[in-house]
Symmetry: C2
Subunit: 333 residues, 2 copies
């Protein structure tokens, strides 16, 4: 019934100053005498006034809200990035509008539209490769965008990644070096440039340097899930491979258990290197050797980069590559 919202106007009246002055106090504008500031603050306290962010957003054209698109909340890889994003966002007083957008399901554009309608100040994309329509939509809105763990082949948007080519190359070399003649490459959609261009290139480069012929039948394209990993084990085993580089931990874990349950000894009879170094690699037995990506940092740096863009600060590098390494555990000899 009684709405009872205390507005800036009530505060102004009670403190016998103008709305403008109250606004200045609330926003920390220095142009207000200490004693008036004091007086206003007292009234704010007394009336328990809370500024309305919606009205503020309308008047100032800034919502202090950023949109975050995530392909799968329950995939710990993305969740880890999200945590980095969230922490930095909080640090800079931004709220996050989170939306899951399964690229596969063409949801991206509609989700994006609803987020842009909310007038977010910026946008972080994870995982989803940007379609042309998506890109156009972003362009027209002029909203700053940063990709986290996602590359932009056109190199126009901000992005934070590791050097996938180098990382996969090292992993592959590692497997070749222990005498594996047939190393499989098990990955997600090759239409995603990270897989189809970067990682694949690293894989091929390692083979080529080791003078091993590239054999397309050793490349396995599937999806990032535990089930997919279990399911594909047999095929990989039958291909004659004795080792595999796998580009997602859930996938790798499913794969590993497929091997375990099929009584193949890891790493004696088959070696595995996975890619994300999430908690999963430590949970399974044997523990998985993995490319280590600084997941939290990828998210955190992406968000930090976005804050700079939103502030129109000078950006030294809008395409950043964070360092990676390989953590040896027990799925390799």
């Amino acid at each position: 019934m009684e709405k009872q919202t205390i507005t800036i106007y009530d505060v102004a009246r009670e403190a016998s100053v103008s709305m403008a002055t109250v606004s200045r106090v609330v926003n920390g504008n220095p142009n207000v005498r200490p004693d008036t500031r004091e007086k206003v603050l007292k009234v704010i306290e007394k009336l328990d006034y809370r500024p309305n962010a919606v009205a503020r957003g309308l008047a100032s054209h800034r919502t202090t809200t950023v949109g975050v698109l995530i392909p799968d909340l329950t995939n710990i890889f993305y969740a880890s990035l999200a945590r980095g994003i969230d922490d930095v966002a909080t640090m800079y007083k931004y709220n996050i509008i989170l939306a899951s957008a399964d690229a596969a399901k063409n949801k991206v554009d509609s989700v994006l539209e609803s987020i842009l309608a909310k007038q977010v100040d910026g946008l972080i994309f994870m995982g989803t490769h940007l379609s042309d329509s998506t890109r156009k939509e972003l362009e027209r809105s002029k909203t700053p965008v940063v990709l986290a763990g996602t590359v932009d082949p056109l190199d126009k948007l901000g992005s934070v990644n590791i050097d996938y080519v180098a990382a996969v190359k090292e992993a592959t070399q590692r497997l070749l070096s222990t005498g594996n003649e047939h190393v499989a490459f098990v990955t997600g959609a090759l239409s995603d440039p990270i897989n189809g261009q970067y990682r694949l290139k690293g894989y091929q480069a390692a083979l080529s340097e080791a003078k091993v012929a590239y054999d397309e039948s050793l490349v396995f394209e599937t999806e990032y899930s535990y089930r997919a990993g279990e399911a594909i084990w047999d095929a990989v085993k039958r291909s004659g491979a004795t080792a595999a580089v796998i580009t997602d931990d859930e996938l790798a874990v499913g794969f590993l258990n497929g091997a375990n349950d099929g009584h193949t000894n890891i790493p004696e009879d088959f070696e595995i290197i996975t890619s994300n170094n999430t908690m999963l690699t430590e949970i399974v037995r044997p523990k998985l050797t993995s490319i280590a990506q600084p997941l939290y940092d990828i998210g955190a740096v992406a968000m930090r980069l976005l804050t700079k863009m939103m502030n129109k600060e000078e950006i030294e590098q809008k395409t950043v590559l964070l360092p990676h390494s390989i953590i040896t555990r027990n799925s390799t000899k």
Copy 2:
């Protein structure tokens, strides 16, 4: 430079109707002649007009946005709930403002304040037990609230859960029935009513019915994480227990690996039942027997309940209990 935002006013002028009519068309108000609707839609298309959700929110007092508080994004339990929440929210055209609020770190109230400032239409709480100050804050804002996987001891807010008392009781009985005389109870903060009241009560009820004395030294309080599970294994083993009910999967998995790595055979020498039936239970070896909670559904139902509250619909049951079961895998005899 040129802001170039197309407003409802531009559309009105171009279509030679009033703003009100355009607004009606956009909002699907039936009070507009089909041919005017057509005309307006054409202009909207032509001008590529997009309504500004912030202005809309200010004028209508509805933001079609809900706040979601999550204790830990990377804990798959919460992430699973969140997925249910997200799907239903999308279905009903709500956006989600996600904020992680580590109850431990007293962040809850400040996060809540920033979310409420954004004028969300409703709020979903996960995991965090509501402090008095939080509750007061919610009350004053009059925002509808639903707890997902979290109980309200005062039973004032909406909530969606399973019957924790019954579930833990069944799990404990199961372990007692295979001859375990000392069954440990390993859980998170006992200050959380779910643990300290409900689950503990179920545990005690099972003991009591089996005429086994309750022994406080078999109750282990720790936190929901893999590391905590690894760390606590030794103490539990030393307590003389030969079985344990564990209330979080990450915790249970750490515990299991503690046992594995300490060369205790599961389930021959020690039985384990965990509580959330997430993917983790299937990933480890042996697979974990678990209480099965409908995680996705808890989130989905919570969000659905919230939509009803936001619409001021009649609510038949604001405290809902979803069914649970026990899934037998290989960590029990």
